[in-house]
Amino acid sequence: MPTSAELRDAERAESTYEWDAAPGSDPRAPGLWIYLLVGALFGVVLTKGEAISWFRIQEMFRFQGFHMFGIFATALPTAIVGVQLLKRRWRRTLGGDAIVVPPKHLGSGVRYGAGGTIFGLGWALTGACPGPLFALLGAGVTTMAVAIASAMLGTWTYGRVRTRLPH
């Protein structure tokens, strides 16, 4: 068993690079504004593609329509080809840095199965995963602000009980 101090160090190390890559060191790297633009495009695609619709999510989980499956079935190959090409061929970011994708640690795998299932339950209820929560807020479903606040409380609670959960 690792000591609590070791766990804390591991958490700190993980917290910086687990989800978000380090900022680009090159001054040619684009400024923050580009992410506002790309985020807006993503919000438009999610909304126009109806991936933020509670009705579409119900249709998907009931296996009664192809729409959402079609989205995943075309989004995944596109993402796989794009990311693999970047990693293997281009190898450089726009700013000239080496492309680095920090690997996820498998561990026992419990966190992915259990956490994924808990999230899935919430996804079925709200009809929205985190991206759509924010897109719906913009699209005028203002009660999503409450859902987002509650999701933040969920994330905060995970932070509180993290060391007691199997990972």
Binding site: T16, T47, W123, P130, G159
Partner: protein, 189 residues
């Protein structure tokens, strides 16, 4: 307003476009596409005290992503309000019937108004769907270390085993939620 700007996009347009965001963000600045990290960043901004998981430099690690998520809200506003599709979402007839049997009859808009109006928060079922569902989304994505974007698209695009497990979990939970939890919850007033 020309009709073409209002109409929803078919899956074969939206899907490939959604898939482009993981490589695009990687190329722009080594950013890992994933929205749920923002729930963590927001907690790190507001209440990190005493929690190592939330004690990190969110300005350095999270600024780009918080900006990205602000963009998502703007995108939702553009596509969902300014260029709003006036028609109901064209879901399958069988889904309409299934939802009607659960008491969901208003199929206008992107979400059922019966559940997501502010007045719904005064009902048990509305409270469970909005507050309970939101909590599960936040807790589950943090525990799993990612959501539909971070695991489902980014992680799978990087061919990572954890993300395939997480994706299976998302679906298992979604099926349980749809066929066990939702019928129970929607039966409440």
């Amino acid at each position: 307003m020309p009709d073409i700007l209002l109409r929803p996009w078919p899956w074969y347009v939206a899907g490939p476009l959604i898939g482009l965001f993981a490589p695009l963000l990687l190329w722009l600045g080594n950013r890992l596409f994933g929205v749920s990290s923002n729930l963590r960043h927001l907690c790190a901004v507001i209440a990190p005290r005493g929690i190592p998981y939330l004690s990190y430099d969110w300005r350095r690690d999270g600024s780009w992503n918080l900006t990205f998520v602000a963009g998502i809200v703007i995108g939702g506003l553009l596509a969902g309000v300014v260029f709003r599709n006036p028609e109901p979402v064209a879901i399958a007839d069988s889904t309409r019937a299934a939802l009607a049997s659960l008491g969901i009859r208003d199929l206008g808009g992107l979400v059922p108004r019966e559940l997501f109006a502010w007045a719904s928060l005064a009902t048990v079922r509305g409270w469970i769907v909005i507050v309970g569902g939101g909590f599960l989304v936040g807790f589950g994505t943090a525990y799993a270390g990612g959501c539909t974007s971070g695991h489902g698209i980014s992680g799978v695009a990087n061919l990572e085993a954890p993300s395939f497990i997480a994706l299976a979990g998302f679906f298992a939970g979604g099926l349980l939620g749809t066929f066990l939890l939702l019928p129970l919850v929607l039966g409440l007033r």
